[in-house]
């Protein structure tokens, strides 16, 4: 079992470690939205499905109850899709 926070990957999409998250929480950041913007955790293809609940627990352990945490906005698409799917043969702008 990994116990070194520098080796524990919390966000698999963007390679963010537990140590990086704890460092920013120590520096005073207190929300998922701020951590997401500074570290990219939750900005990858899974949009935080895996990491955000884990980070919410870390914030809770540092005094921010989960019930008081605001969830970052979930953006389309639900799953990544290739841009070519949207490039129609008939150009919408002519």
């Amino acid at each position: 079992m990994l116990t070194n926070p520098q080796e524990v990957i919390i966000c698999r999409c963007e390679d963010v470690t537990l140590a990086e998250i704890r460092q920013l929480i120590r520096e005073g950041y207190r929300s998922l939205d701020e951590l997401k913007r500074l570290l990219r955790c939750g900005m990858g293809p899974c949009q935080g499905r895996t990491c955000l609940p884990l980070i919410a627990q870390e914030l809770a352990a540092h005094g921010v109850p989960i019930a008081e945490q605001r969830w970052p906005t979930f953006r389309p698409p639900t799953k990544p899709v290739k841009l070519e799917l949207f490039a129609r043969e008939d150009d919408p702008d002519g």
Binding site: R75, L83, E84, F86
Partner: protein, 382 residues
Amino acid sequence: MADTASVVIIGGGIIGCSIAYNLAERGLRDVVLVERQFLAAGSTGRSGAGVRQQWGTEMNCRLARASIKIFEQLEEMLDYPRSIEFKQEGYLILAFTPAEARQFEANVRLQRSLGVPVTLMDARGAKEIVPHLVVDRVVAATFCPEDGHINPFLATDAYARAARRRGVDIRLWTEVTGILVNNGRVKGVHTNRGFIHCPVVVNAAGPYSQLVAAMAGVDIPVYSERHQILVTEPVQPMQGPMVISFHHGFYCQQTPHGSFIMGVGDPHEPKDFDVGHSWQFLEQVCARVRELLPGLLKLHLVRQWSGLYNITPDAQPILGGVPGLEGYWMAVGFSGHGFMLAPITGKIMAQLILGEQPEIDVSMLGLDRFERGELIREPSVV
């Protein structure tokens, strides 16, 4: 105990944070910055975050050039432990009509006279800089290697932390609900967390600037408009410069992270405070990608979102105070390019507020220009 401040800055985007830092850096104490959500939650964090000096008006060129010079050494200036991820690999701007090419020639003459290292080139030159670009219909292009892209969250964070270390009180989740004015003087700011006595208030509220101005009884000729944007999966570095076409209202940049961000302007976007998103946007962007950068169609779309431009009649910001209203200042109406002008804007606003000579004379960007009708419209906007 009474809550008092020397200055209350409204807005925790990069403009507000830059003003806060510059005031505190000049020794002003008791500066408070209020932000309705968290830092960079509004237009700053939603922007494409490109920075360029290739503008069509002298004022925008000068403000942008001065800002890039500050961005180049921002980490050092602010003693920021992280990188703001400044990717300085240029902007390639494409012309698709002879009229546009003539405008570019005039722009380049202006830009070079102001020291901007920009080059005018033909389609072949553009192809050499971005090999995967389709240049069949490109008439001309301009390239400035000093332009680029910066991480807007980290740049804002850098300013905010430096401001805090100099004593600025940054209050998140604090929304302004009113501004108290008495006998033509600002007296304080009402917020959802109470009243703050202050003789000076700075409107740096981005897309909500007109609402904040109205609280002080000031009417400003701006409106907010949604602009949409998307980001792809990260891939190996393959595109150095930002590619822009004003003709298509399209821009596309690969960030240092490897992802591409791109957007397209739509004249039918809602002109209110809507930050939703549309399927049509994806089709519009991808039509442009197919035409200009078809190699990118294989990339996966990861996210789409939107943010608000705060637009003035001449697409240039409103900087300064209001005659007859002592203590009210504003840095608003950046019309989609506020992020890149933030470093010099913060410095100039601090100088104006403290009664110093501003580094660049911005009197022509005052609110009174709209009454006088002395508008010089910026032609180079997406």
